[in-house]
Symmetry: C2
């Protein structure tokens, strides 16, 4: 790790995120033989972006793995809201975002994001923080998948603090929540913002541990479910559930707002949107169906570490719908 001078951490973090982008793309391509990411490159003095998109795969209907690094004269409003003291401070920024919209409705959609902000200062040491996380949005729920996903997330955090997993898990449940629906987007995972452990080295080590945990968390689930038989009913439910994904991203997500406000390429910011989506007025699942089970069992904040396939304990959650 280089010294604590302007832009130095951004370069190190950026290099790690680029390697992670390579690993994730290679693993996704290996899981989806014959289908490849298309890479674009955008480079200016202040901004470097390397979006990669895999479209119309057999396993991934759309997968987006976006690396970006930028400098700017001031933070966009969405980021300043939480840190008004940084108005008029220039900043450096690097991020990796991963979105997978699988073709098979039994494979959950996945999202991961890791980002690093650094606001240099001539008068004091630079301000910096990490943000990000990873979360899963199934259409059809499998307890063993949810348990595997959360145990894997727990393992990524545990060496850095005994309470980190439960803290990030709770923040994930709170953040990926659609207030107008009174419903979480998925089964959660980890979410953190403004993250600083004792020092930047240790924080970056945690970030690497979380970043490296994405593939071991997600790929086994993809491989286990990608050939699960399905028909028009399951496809229709998948398109319907993707509507919630769109509603969250466009109505609720600070990351999308940040991206649009900071003048990033709109096609990159909105690349996370699913390839095909449906809205059906007043749709309700049949009583006792697997579709109903998703909402009743999986779309509740739950302690997945304490859950086995036979036992499902629902814990309390913020369900203050505005509707």
């Amino acid at each position: 790790m280089t010294n604590d001078v302007r832009g130095s951490y951004v370069i190190d973090v950026g290099n790690y995120l680029k390697q992670l982008q390579d690993s994730i793309c290679a693993a996704f391509e290996a899981a989806d033989p014959g289908h490849h990411f298309r890479e674009d490159l955008f480079s200016t003095e202040m901004h470097f972006a390397r979006p990669r998109v895999l479209s119309d795969g057999a396993v991934f209907e759309k997968a987006v793995v976006n690396f970006s690094q930028a400098s700017a004269r001031q933070l966009p409003p969405a980021a300043l809201q939480l840190r008004p003291q940084l108005a008029d401070r220039s900043f450096d920024f690097t991020s990796l975002s991963v979105i997978a919209h699988p073709a098979n409705p039994f494979v959950p959609a996945a999202h991961a994001n890791l980002r690093f902000f650094e606001a240099p200062s001539e008068r004091s040491s630079p301000e910096w923080w990490f943000g990000g996380g990873l979360d899963l949005s199934p259409c059809y729920g499998f307890e063993e998948d949810a348990i595997h996903w959360h145990r894997n997330a727990y393992s990524a955090c545990k060496a850095f603090g005994s309470s980190l997993y439960s803290q990030f898990k709770r923040q994930c449940d709170d953040y990926f929540f659609l207030p107008h629906r009174g419903e979480p987007r998925g089964i959660g995972g980890l979410f953190f913002d403004n993250l600083q452990l004792d020092d930047v080295h240790r924080t970056f080590a945690l970030i690497r541990s979380i970043g490296n945990a994405f593939l071991p968390g997600y790929l086994p689930i993809v491989l286990r479910r990608k050939d699960h038989p399905f028909g028009p009913r399951e496809r229709a439910f998948q398109l319907y559930r993707r509507g919630r994904y769109v509603e969250f991203n466009l109505l609720c997500d600070r990351g999308t707002l940040f991206g649009l406000q900071s003048g990033r390429r709109v096609e990159s910011v909105l690349a996370a949107l699913p390839p095909v989506v449906a809205w059906t007025y007043q749709w309700h699942p049949d009583s006792g169906s697997e579709e109903e089970r998703l909402c009743q069992v999986f779309l509740k904040a739950k302690d997945w570490l304490a859950t086995t396939s036979d036992e499902v304990s629902v814990i309390g959650h913020n369900t203050n719908s505005i509707s």
Copy 2:
């Protein structure tokens, strides 16, 4: 018209909007034989709603004609932004909204909204205003349709003031604009908010003239284009363009925000979203194609009253994209 006491205009305006809902639903059903609106009724002391939705028609893939009337203790934040002096004032509200997402890509999507707010006061005369408008979003452009739509809108306004059409038309171009795309949502029409002519009677007469103009503006276009041959290419472009409709409604529309913040039924507020939508990363129309012509000729603010099918004059417009 009854006297100027609490709620009186809301009742008169509400009665008109209910009649208009009946007319529009009857005309849509006549244009789409064998397909019918499904009506729901929601009634509490403070709120009456009568949403009607036609799904999976041969002509209308989805049509929503929503009547609503409500009283509330205070204006929601989205409405207070423009009128901070009304904080802590109770209000009455009635509205009709119309959204048509046609099955045939050559039939444009249509939107109309009429709404009336009244904030009673014990100390002075009540504050009131109308808002609303109507606008058209084609996937494939036809000059004769655009000219008909705008001439019809002009005729609805002209008896009430010589500059009203051009004022409402400009406001429509400004409002139905996606800043992140640097692109209007469609070919516009009329848009107004906080509208008060000399008195409430004359303003209500203008509102009726505009409401009554919706069917003569839209139906001839529907009937002219509903059997236009199309294939997978045109369907794909339709789903792609519907993505812009979703982006506008969820990212830009004050009406959607108002609906969600004021605690209306989420299924009613989001009923405007298209039935099926697609996002394709980095899609660009072929050079010289009809799809390119939509963007180049129709998705520009234009003086359609001064336009004939042979001559297309593009006038300047706010194209300050943030991307």
